[in-house]
């Protein structure tokens, strides 16, 4: 059930109406059942994987809190092994086997080909396992008391708005909210609904329209000119942002309608003036997860310059692998780690860039955007060879086919991009989401909602395109 489908719209309306109609004590049951239904709409049997990790983490959480000394660590390890084990089997096993087979072949060692698992990756696996791990780690660190209510803990992992593509929540933010008695709030509901509309607009009017252009170029990259490849890479940068941040907006909005506040996942990332700043604005729930549980655990920047670079590289390489079992994602992570290390070496400080003159800011924004675009080539390409081919052709200025920019195709693309920039500029100035979701009077939210709805009907891609981050 995709967020950009009519099916979800119906699901959302029914779940929300029933949620508000029920008394508080029954709401968690309703949300849990709805979340199970939502997840089972993809591959029903994979619900068992979720229930398996939920059961282990629930018990581990309580045991970590109650146990003393080494036993605490043992339960933490049990939880981490269970979660990472599921990830290893479903996500990385075939990649590992592939590379072992290749390695043995290249060393001319006679061997039986190691068997592959013919399984489909459970949707959103990396998201909910990381969220589950953040719970046991926080309990272990003593930052959060273990949840005694199994149903609420299960809801923490399975809460449908953020189940399949984040934000990767922390227990401190979400679990207390499940205990609170929620009352219907007109303003919050209105802001939530507008945010959902904004997310759908980003996905179907901008992201999916860009995707058509990107796919047509990247699927036949050999015949395209340098300019065509460069434009497609820019378009992919916009596509992936609109696709993923659009999903996050729908997730945050649908939770807000029910009175829940999820963490922000994006803050205008392409307006970042350095890659360091970019990672404070892009997929914030993952970057902070990696910072809090990996980078800092490795020693962060406390162990001297060279170990800081090592930690940055390791964190970003694992961040790359988090996305998928492919060397392209490893390269993507490597490039980001390299950028961050170089910026550390050059002493780039995010706060200091705020004081720079406007032209310097603009130059840095442009440079950062292009550095990130280079990483997107590896993210989007089907193979390492394809990515290298595209990068080389962009640099070498090779002639070739260029897609015709007809008003019928370029019009919606430019309209969507223009509106995106306009509204997000408002966000940039207002510094918070509410700034672009006006609610003091009825006129502005009504006009905003009507305009978005009409744009979605008239220009949205209605084929129900998959969200890119669902595959992770």
């Amino acid at each position: 059930m995709l967020f950009n489908s009519v099916e979800f719209l119906v699901f959302f309306v029914v779940v929300t109406v029933v949620y508000w109609a029920l008394p508080h004590r029954f709401r968690w049951i309703h949300l849990l059942v709805a979340s199970c239904g939502f997840y089972m709409a993809f591959i029903p049997v994979y619900l068992l994987i979720l229930l398996f990790t939920i059961a282990i983490d629930y018990v581990a959480g309580i045991q970590i809190e109650q146990a003393q000394g080494r036993r605490r660590k043992q339960f933490l390890v049990l939880s981490l092994v269970a979660n990472l084990g599921v990830l290893a089997v479903f996500k990385y096993y075939n990649f590992f086997i592939d590379n072992v087979n290749d390695l043995l072949d290249s060393l001319h060692i006679t061997h039986h080909a190691l068997p592959y698992l013919s399984i489909i990756l459970p949707i959103g696996l990396s998201f909910h396992t990381f969220q589950a791990m953040s719970y046991t780690i926080e309990v272990y660190r003593g930052n959060f008391r273990a949840e005694r209510h199994l149903g609420l803990y299960a809801l923490y992992v399975m809460f449908y708005p953020q189940l399949v593509a984040g934000p990767i929540e922390r227990p401190q933010n979400v679990l207390p909210q499940f205990h609170e008695v929620k009352r219907f709030d007109f303003t919050q509901t209105l802001i939530g609904l507008q945010r959902m509309l904004w997310g759908i607009f980003k996905k179907v009017v901008v992201g999916d329209v860009m995707a058509e252009y990107v796919n047509s170029v990247y699927n036949h990259y050999e015949v395209h000119s340098s300019w065509s490849l460069l434009l497609a890479t820019y378009a992919f940068a916009v596509q992936i942002y609109c696709d993923f941040s659009g999903y996050s907006d729908i997730a945050l909005g649908s939770a807000q309608v029910m009175g829940f506040r999820l963490m922000e996942n994006f803050r205008m990332p392409y307006f970042a003036k350095s890659v360091t700043e970019f990672w404070r604005r892009w997929h914030i729930s993952l970057s902070t997860w990696l910072r809090d549980y990996l980078y800092i655990s490795l020693g962060g920047s406390r162990l001297g310059r060279w170990l800081t670079y090592r930690n940055l590289m390791l964190t970003m390489l694992l961040g790359g692998l988090w996305h998928g079992a492919s060397w392209n994602f490893v390269i993507w992570g490597f490039l980001n780690g390299l950028y961050l290390s170089v910026e550390k070496l050059l002493g780039v400080r995010v706060e200091a860039t705020e004081q720079l003159p406007w032209w310097s800011k603009l130059l840095r924004i442009g440079l950062t955007f292009h550095l990130i675009c280079l990483t997107w080539v590896f993210f989007r390409a089907q193979s390492f060879e394809q990515a290298l081919f595209i990068v080389r052709h962009i640099v070498e200025q090779v002639p070739g086919t260029s897609l015709a920019w007809e008003p019928g195709t370029a019009g919606p693309l430019l309209l969507g991009l223009g509106l995106l920039l306009l509204v997000e500029y408002g966000y940039l100035r207002g510094r918070n989401t509410e700034a672009i979701m006006p609610h003091r009077t009825w006129t502005r939210p009504l006009a905003f909602s009507l305009a978005l709805t009409l744009l979605i009907i008239c220009f949205g891609v209605s084929t129900g395109e998959q969200f890119i981050y669902f595959q992770f």
């Binding site: 007109f186 015949v223 309209l415």
Partner: protein, 328 residues
């Protein structure tokens, strides 16, 4: 809660008002636009005083490779680039509903469709005619059970078309000629690269026969029989015949043979002698304007005896060739 209900009612009311008003206005503009690849060409066809003797249907291989003026009878090309058999069947259903069927339909069959997954969403190219043609409605509803809900909003008919419509309307006002359905590509320096690349791509393509796709062709054949329209199928040549053609042509041919539909398959063998040179090709499956006259003449010659034959009687209770194939 009351405030929200009131807000929502106001929102829904205004949306409905704008939707109906906007759609009415756009329908008005659309119906009077005769320029453009999809809507324009159809409107131009419907505006004719009478249907021509022959209508050419198919995808870009039909629209780019065949000059309708070279054919032995008065012909109009309703071929639409980028569409598949699903679209052609939906379009035929629309022509039947409007009573605008010609005496003969020359349908191009793209054999590549039968080795790739069907693309049912292709019918959305005819979403403007949802509810007006049985097959368009049926195929659309098969896409998703929520399709009727989407069509509850009248503006959805114009989804993704507004800029194209505005452009076509503007061009028409500037004096652009109505679409004729034939818009050949002049040769370019890129042609040889495209031809080599796409030939290599087709030759290397992993394929699996998609017999399910025959369903749409079967619907097309059945409707032609019901409406007493003579149907002639053809497939344009490839620059180099790809490996899958023998199998996919076999599947198509067996259906057409059972239904008694003549099938001129120029892909069965190497490109006709007049078209073997690369300079005639735009890519592996399309001719450029140098190659088109050669091919159109060849096609016209072979059509002549077929057009002289009697128009078939309605089938009346014949067993479904599609079902027979599907059961095998």
């Amino acid at each position: 809660m009351k405030r929200f209900a009131l807000f929502f009612a106001l929102f829904a009311g205004l949306l409905l008002l704008i939707d109906r008003g906007g759609a009415h206005l756009l329908d008005h503009v659309y119906a009077r636009t005769y320029v453009g690849q999809k809507g324009g060409i159809l409107n131009h066809y419907f505006a004719r005083p009478a249907p021509p003797a022959l209508v050419l249907m198919g995808n870009s291989r039909a629209s780019l490779d065949v000059n309708p003026d070279s054919l032995p009878v008065e012909a109009f090309s309703l071929a639409h680039p980028g569409t598949s058999q699903i679209f052609q069947s939906g379009l035929l259903s629309l022509l039947a509903e409007r009573g605008r069927l010609p005496q003969t339909i020359l349908l191009h069959i793209d054999l590549d469709e039968y080795i790739r997954p069907s693309f049912p969403a292709d019918i959305r190219n005819l979403r403007h005619y949802y509810g007006q043609a049985p097959l368009v409605t049926q195929y659309s509803q098969e896409l998703s059970r929520w399709e009727p809900l989407k069509h509850g909003l009248a503006l959805y008919r114009h989804n993704g078309r507004l800029f194209g419509l505005a452009k076509n309307h503007y061009l028409q006002r500037q004096g652009a000629a109505p679409s004729q359905g034939f818009d050949p590509y002049p040769p370019t320096a890129q042609d040889s690269i495209n031809t080599l690349y796409s030939t290599r791509y087709l030759a290397a393509e992993q394929y699996r026969l998609n017999r399910g796709h025959l369903r749409y062709l079967h619907d097309f054949v059945t409707l032609c029989r019901q409406q007493q329209v003579r149907l002639i199928c053809f497939t344009t040549p490839y620059y180099r015949v790809p490996p899958h053609v023998r199998e996919s042509a076999g599947v198509v041919d067996s259906l057409l043979r059972r239904a008694g539909v003549p099938y001129l398959n120029y892909a069965a063998t190497a490109a006709p002698p007049a078209l073997t040179a690369m300079r005639y090709w735009r890519d592996a499956t399309h001719l450029n304007s140098r190659g088109i006259p050669h091919y159109s003449q060849l096609l016209a010659r072979e059509l002549q005896p077929l057009l002289a034959a009697q128009v078939p009687e309605p089938a009346g209770g014949q067993p479904s060739a599609y079902l027979a194939l599907a059961q095998r």
